[in-house]
C-alpha cells in the first residue's frame, strides 16, 4: 500500500489497522522467536510471512528466562539462543526484513533485561532505525513506565500493553493510558500455549476494553486453528498466533533440532491456513 510508505513506528501500525478496517476484516498477527531455529531459516520465514497472509509480526526477542511463556515458546527461545541469537541480531533481521517490506508492522516482543543491558536510549534509536514499530515488554507493567514506555512513546515507537482477565475496570485506565498501536488482550489466565481461547468470554472482554479505548484490540495466547483465528478476528481487531506457529517450526526440524527443507514451507503453509480463516471472517461494518 503506497500510502503507508514513509510511515514508521506507531504510525505504520495505525495505517495497517486503518487499511484493514477499510477492507472490513481483522488482522492476523504472527509470533515467531527471532532466529528460530537459526538466523538464515528464521529470516526466510520472516520474509515469507506477509506473503503467507500475516498482517503484522510479533517478533520475539529470545530470553533465557521467559516467565510468561509456556514450554513451546520457551523452547523456541532456547533454540534461537543456542543458534547464537542476540538483541543485535534481532535488529539486524528486522533491518533485512524492512528492506523488502514497508507495510507490515513489526512489533518486538520479549522481556526487559536484554533491552536494559543494551541500553534503553540506544535500543530505542536502533530499533526505530531498523524498522521496528512497536514494543511489547511483558515484564514492564504501567508501574514501571518511566523505564522504557515513556521514552519510547516520546520517539514515536509504539508501546503495546497487555490487558488480562485480571485487569479490572479500576486498573484498566492505568493500563491503557500510555498504550499506543493497539491493546493486546491476553485471553487466558496463564502463560502462552497452555489453554484454548474461550471465544465467548473473549467477546465480552473485548467489548469491555472497547468501552475504555479507541485503540484496536488484538487477542492472543491460546489461538491454534484457522477456525479459532477466524472467530477471534470477528469479535476483535486482530488475532495473534504464536505457540501453534513455533510448534510447526519444531515439528519440521530434524532429530538434532536443525532446520530441514520443510521448515520454511511448513511454517508458511500453516500461516496461510490461518490467514484464509481470518480473511474469510468478514466483520460487520463499523458504525463510526
Amino acid at each position: 500500500m503506497s500510502d503507508a510508505r514513509g510511515k514508521a513506528g506507531v504510525s505504520r501500525i495505525d495505517a495497517k489497522f486503518a487499511a484493514l478496517r477499510a477492507e472490513g476484516r481483522g488482522a492476523l498477527g504472527i509470533f515467531v522467536s527471532a532466529g528460530d531455529p537459526d538466523f538464515e531459516t528464521g529470516l526466510a520465514i520472516l520474509k515469507g510471512l506477509p506473503g503467507a497472509g500475516a498482517d503484522m509480526i510479533e517478533f520475539g526477542m529470545p530470553f533465557t528466562d521467559p516467565m510468561a511463556d509456556g514450554p513451546a515458546i520457551q523452547e523456541s527461545s532456547q533454540r534461537a539462543l543456542k543458534a547464537g541469537m542476540t538483541l543485535t541480531g534481532v535488529l539486524e533481521m528486522v533491518r533485512a526484513f524492512r528492506a523488502g517490506d514497508q507495510d507490515t508492522p513489526m512489533i518486538l516482543m520479549g522481556y526487559y533485561n536484554p533491552i536494559y543491558s543494551y541500553g534503553v536510549d540506544r535500543f530505542i534509536e536502533d530499533a526505530l532505525a531498523s524498522g521496528v514499530d512497536g514494543l511489547i515488554v511483558v515484564d514492564l507493567p504501567p508501574e514501571e513506565d518511566r523505564e522504557l514506555c515513556l521514552p519510547a512513546l516520546a520517539r514515536g515507537l509504539g508501546f503495546v500493553r497487555l490487558a488480562t482477565p485480571t485487569t479490572d475496570d479500576v486498573r484498566l485506565p492505568a493500563v491503557l493510558k500510555n498504550t499506543a498501536g493497539f491493546v493486546y488482550y491476553v485471553s487466558i489466565m496463564g502463560i502462552t500455549g497452555t489453554a484454548e481461547v474461550p471465544t465467548d468470554l473473549v467477546t465480552k472482554a473485548v467489548e469491555r476494553l472497547k468501552r475504555h479505548t479507541d485503540l484496536p484490540v488484538c487477542v492472543g495466547f491460546g489461538i491454534t486453528t484457522p477456525e479459532q483465528a477466524a472467530g477471534i478476528a470477528r469479535c476483535a481487531d486482530g488475532a495473534i498466533v504464536g505457540t501453534a506457529v513455533v510448534k510447526t517450526i519444531k515439528a519440521s526440524l530434524d532429530h538434532e533440532g536443525r532446520a530441514t527443507e520443510a521448515t520454511v514451507s511448513d511454517t508458511l503453509g500453516f500461516v496461510r491456513g490461518l490467514a484464509d480463516g481470518v480473511r474469510g471472517a468478514r466483520r460487520p461494518a463499523p458504525h463510526a
Binding site: 510468561a68 490487558a163 489466565m189
Partner: protein
C-alpha cells in the same frame, strides 16, 4: 522495623513503589500486577494490626522455638585465636533453618486474605519444607517447585515435603535449580493468580516481597541485639551471614544498619572460584539487571541473558540477590565477599568437629569467611555469625566430598 526508622535512616526503604535506590520495583506481567498490589495492601494493613503481630509472636514462641540462642562458640574462638565468635542459632528452629520465620508470617497473611492454596519455590528445600509445614499446620494446600537437580541433591527435604502433604513439582527447564524453580512457580502463579498465594522464600521478587520477607526475618537481628546486650553489654563489632537471595542475612543485618560502628559482611557463594565463571556471586561477579520482578545485580552475559549460577549449596545456587543488598552494596554500608565450595566444605567439617554442630552448607560459607579474618582481630572484639540452618539435608551430598578431601 522500618516503621520506627529515623529520617536519615538506612532502614527507611523501600519507597512507595518498592525501590531501594535504583533497585527493587515491580517487573512482572500484567496478570500478576493486581494480585501483587493486593498482597501489598493486605500486608500494610496486617503490619499495623496488633492482632497480626500477636499471632506471629505466638508462633515464634510456641511453634518455631524463638528466641533462638545466641551461643558463644568457645572452641572455634580458641581455634582461630582472635576475636570472640558467637553463633545466632537459627538452625535450632523448627524445620531446621531461618526460612520458617518468613513462612509463618506469609502463611498468616495468606490466611488473613482468605487464601488457602499456597505455592512456593525452593532451592535447598528448607523453604519448601517450612512452607509445607505451615500448610499442614493451617490446613492449606501446598505446591512446591524445585529444580530437578536440587531434588536429587536435597532428597531428604523432598521426602519431608511429601510427608507433610505437599506436592513437589520437579523443574527440568534451564539448569534445574532455584532460578528455574522460581520461573516455574511464577508461571504457575500467573495461571492461578485469583486463588493462590505465592510464598516467596527470600528477600527478592516484586515489591512488596523483598520488604515483607525482610520484616519477617528481622526477628533474627532484633533478638541478637537484645541477647548481645545481655551477654556482653554492647553491640557486636562484626556481623557475618551467607547470601543466597539474602533473607537470613537481611534478617540479621537490617536492625543494625543504622549502628554504623557495626561492620557488616555478606558472604556469597564463590563456587569453583570467582575467576572460574562457575559461582553464584551476583554482587562480586554480576551487574544490575531485571529478573523475577526486581532490578538487582545478576549473573548475565553481554547480551543480558541470565547465566547459570554454580554452588555446592543448593540454597545459594541463584544468579541474583535481593534488591536491598544491591543497594547496600552500592552505598558501601555492607561489604560483600565470596567463599568457595571447598572452603565451605572445610568449614562444614570444622564446625562439626569443634562445636558438635552440623551446619548447613549455606552458613558453612559464612564460617569459611569468618575463618579468613577472625584470627587477626583483637580478642576483645565480637563477631556474630548467623548459623541459619542445620546440615542434615546435606549429608548425602557432603559425605563423599569430605571423604575425598580427607576430612573424615
Amino acid at each position: 522495623m522500618a516503621a520506627t526508622a529515623q529520617p536519615n535512616s538506612l532502614r527507611a526503604g523501600p519507597d512507595a513503589d518498592g525501590h531501594f535506590g535504583i533497585f527493587g520495583g515491580r517487573y512482572v506481567a500484567e496478570t500478576l500486577m493486581p494480585l501483587i498490589l493486593s498482597v501489598e495492601k493486605a500486608y500494610e494493613e496486617a503490619k499495623a494490626d496488633p492482632e497480626f503481630q500477636r499471632q506471629i509472636a505466638y508462633y515464634h514462641t510456641h511453634y518455631i522455638g524463638r528466641p533462638s540462642p545466641l551461643y558463644f562458640a568457645e572452641r572455634l574462638t580458641e581455634h582461630f585465636g582472635g576475636a570472640k565468635l558467637y553463633f545466632k542459632r537459627d538452625e535450632l528452629n523448627h524445620t531446621g533453618a531461618h526460612k520458617i520465620n518468613n513462612v509463618m508470617g506469609q502463611a498468616l497473611l495468606a490466611k488473613r486474605m482468605g487464601k488457602t492454596r499456597i505455592i512456593a519455590e525452593t532451592g535447598a528445600g528448607q523453604h519448601g519444607v517450612a512452607t509445607a509445614t505451615a500448610c499442614a499446620l493451617f490446613g492449606m494446600e501446598c505446591e512446591v517447585f524445585m529444580g530437578a537437580e536440587d531434588v536429587e541433591r536435597q532428597k531428604p527435604n523432598v521426602d519431608r515435603m511429601r510427608l507433610l502433604g505437599a506436592k513437589v513439582h520437579p523443574v527440568t527447564s534451564g539448569s534445574g535449580t532455584l532460578k528455574d524453580a522460581m520461573n516455574e512457580a511464577l508461571r504457575y502463579w500467573v495461571s492461578k493468580a485469583e486463588t493462590h498465594f505465592y510464598i516467596i522464600g527470600t528477600v527478592a521478587g516484586p515489591h512488596p516481597y523483598p520488604a515483607m520477607v525482610r520484616d519477617f526475618q528481622s526477628i533474627i537481628g532484633i533478638e541478637v541485639k537484645q541477647q548481645m546486650m545481655a551477654a556482653e553489654g554492647r553491640l557486636p563489632d562484626t556481623l557475618v551471614a551467607c547470601i543466597g537471595g539474602g533473607s537470613n542475612a537481611m534478617g540479621l543485618f537490617h536492625p543494625f544498619l543504622d549502628d554504623t560502628d557495626v561492620e557488616i559482611i555478606g558472604v556469597e557463594a564463590g563456587g569453583l572460584g570467582l575467576n572460574s565463571g562457575k559461582h553464584a556471586a551476583s554482587l562480586n561477579g554480576g551487574r544490575p539487571g531485571v529478573l523475577h520482578g526486581n532490578r538487582t545485580y545478576l549473573l548475565q552475559d553481554d547480551d543480558g541473558q541470565i547465566t547459570e549460577a554454580h554452588s555446592i549449596s543448593a540454597g545459594l545456587d541463584y544468579p541474583g540477590i535481593g534488591p536491598e543488598h544491591s543497594w547496600l552494596n552500592d552505598i558501601g554500608r555492607v561489604k560483600y565477599v565470596a567463599a568457595n565450595d571447598e572452603d565451605a566444605l572445610r568449614a562444614f567439617a570444622l564446625c562439626t568437629r569443634k562445636e558438635g554442630i552440623i551446619p548447613a552448607l549455606e552458613p558453612s560459607h559464612a564460617l569459611a569467611h569468618v575463618g579468613t579474618f577472625i584470627g587477626d582481630r583483637p580478642k576483645d572484639q565480637i563477631v556474630v555469625m548467623n548459623l541459619c540452618g542445620r546440615g542434615d539435608k546435606d549429608m548425602d551430598a557432603v559425605m563423599p566430598k569430605l571423604e575425598k578431601m580427607g576430612l573424615l
